[in-house]
């Protein structure tokens, strides 16, 4: 039953966005002047193609986000399991090891200047 609720909510959100777009395209007037159709570069004539090389820092940020996100997300079951266990010392030992590895990775990232944005 929960699942049907989520699908209904998703469909209603989609129809809402679609209806808004539909109304606007119906009511708006249609005037196809060439000047509007061009790439917008604050009025100046567009220069160069849009697909040019972008900085590698964006990619390095995304990849470090992925790896650290996986590490932090898997702390979640640890947090929920900690409430139920009796031998908490064993759990804390694992937590300390987990955090040491996380911090070693983090320190490597910081002084590897991979995320230094100012050139």
């Amino acid at each position: 039953m929960e699942f049907a609720a989520f699908i209904v909510f998703f469909l209603i959100a989609c129809t809402l966005a679609g209806v808004l777009l539909g109304i606007s395209s119906l009511l708006g007037q249609k005037r196809k002047t060439v000047r509007e159709m061009d790439i917008y570069e604050s009025g100046v004539n567009p220069v160069g193609s849009a697909t040019r090389q972008y900085d590698i820092k964006f990619y390095v940020t995304a990849i470090l986000f992925l790896l650290f996100d996986v590490e932090i997300v898997f702390l979640l079951p640890w947090a929920m399991a900690y409430k139920e266990t009796t031998n908490t010392g064993f759990m804390i030992g694992g937590f300390v090891f987990f955090m040491v590895i996380l911090l070693v990775g983090y320190i490597f990232v910081i002084n590897s200047k991979a995320l230094k944005w100012e050139e």
Partner: protein, 349 residues
């Protein structure tokens, strides 16, 4: 079967009506608040106190021409605002507006999508927010919007890390993932006056989450990706009329959803405000209404805080912004996690 369908539709309508209904009001509060802080009047011509101004804006967006530039990618150009709005609306499905209600012989849970991973689901879905932006940047095929989209996504992504550390810390303190248990463990009072909100258990995690909310919803001082003075207008550069309005709505609803999560975790969600439980007595109908009212009041205060910060703090430079995210907030989040875990361990050993 029919009763279940009615229940789902009723809940969806209530959950969608609250933020969408409040949206024009929030835009109006933003404009009037900005004017109030800059010692000017703000819109007060249309209707009493200018309250009809947002409706006039919505009508304007309806009637503007749907410009469809030729150089954009055809399908993805119109799909991007729809994706942005839908992904912004999805976390609302997991946020309960009131406590479980005993009616028609069984307990009805007010949130649309009930699972014992409530807070984690809302957080996971709000992590998908950067797809609308990426799609818009790529589809409009324009240097500035592509760069704006990349910068907005890199910023949202790097602040999501510190957000997830504070979420893990709070889940560790509460021990559960279920929103109703989280809120019921926040309803007591210390010395009769201070409410036992999560904020007082974990002030550092609350600060981290607050900063994360500003960065995640691209609000000043973190709105570099769409800053007018930086790169023209960021990812929604090639969009006009209703498509731009959809991005605008998506940003506000994302902001409402994240501040609702913040209030659930740190300010007791729908638990009654201090004065309210005297009024409530204990007939359930009044309690539910007051619970919804206290949640709405808390979210309204959060929205006012957003407006307040927007017109006081200057905008970050991009490298300062990324350094703050990676070199300041993330270690703070990890340290806070370690300190909480060790404190809880040594306290009850």
């Amino acid at each position: 079967m029919l009763e279940a369908a009615i229940e789902i539709l009723l809940k969806t309508v209530v959950i969608l009506a609250l933020p969408l209904g409040a949206l024009p009001l929030i835009i109006h509060v933003e404009r009037r608040g900005a004017a109030f802080m800059q010692k000017r009047l703000g819109p007060n011509r249309v209707g009493p106190f200018g309250l009809l101004q947002p409706l006039a804006d919505v009508a304007k967006f309806m009637f503007k021409e749907e410009v469809h530039p030729t150089h954009v990618k055809p399908f993805f150009y119109t799909a991007a605002p729809v994706v942005a709005l839908v992904v912004a609306l999805l976390p609302l499905a997991c946020i309960p507006v009131a406590g479980p209600i005993e009616a028609f012989g069984r307990t009805i849970f007010p949130e649309v999508f009930r699972s014992d991973m409530g807070i984690f689901f809302a957080f996971a879905v709000s992590a998908l927010g950067s797809y609308g932006i990426l799609l818009a940047g790529w589809a409009s095929n324009n240097k500035y919007s592509m760069l704006g989209a990349l910068r907005a996504c890199a910023q949202m992504v790097s602040y999501e890390l510190s957000l997830s550390t504070s979420v893990v810390a709070m889940i560790f303190v509460y021990g559960t993932n279920d929103i109703h248990q989280m809120i019921s463990s926040q309803t007591g009072y210390w010395f009769g006056v201070i409410p036992q909100w999560g904020f007082f258990y974990q002030p550092v995690a609350a600060m981290l989450f607050l900063v994360g909310i500003f960065a995640e919803s691209n609000r000043l001082p973190f709105d570099l990706a769409e800053g007018e003075s930086e790169i023209v207008a960021g990812y929604h550069l090639e969009y006009s009329s209703m498509k731009f309005a959809l991005f605008f709505m998506a940003e506000y609803i994302h902001m409402i959803a994240l501040s609702a999560l913040f209030i659930i975790m740190f300010f007791g969600g729908y638990s009654l405000l201090p004065g309210f439980d005297l009024i409530a007595g204990n007939n359930p109908a009044l309690i539910v209404v007051l619970q919804v009212a206290s949640l709405v009041i808390k979210v309204a205060l959060m929205i006012w805080f957003f407006v307040w910060v927007r017109w006081t703090l200057p905008r970050f430079r991009y490298d300062q912004l990324m350094n703050l995210g990676w070199e300041r907030l993330l270690p703070l989040g990890i340290a806070n996690l370690i300190v909480t875990v060790l404190f809880v361990y040594f306290r009850n050993r």
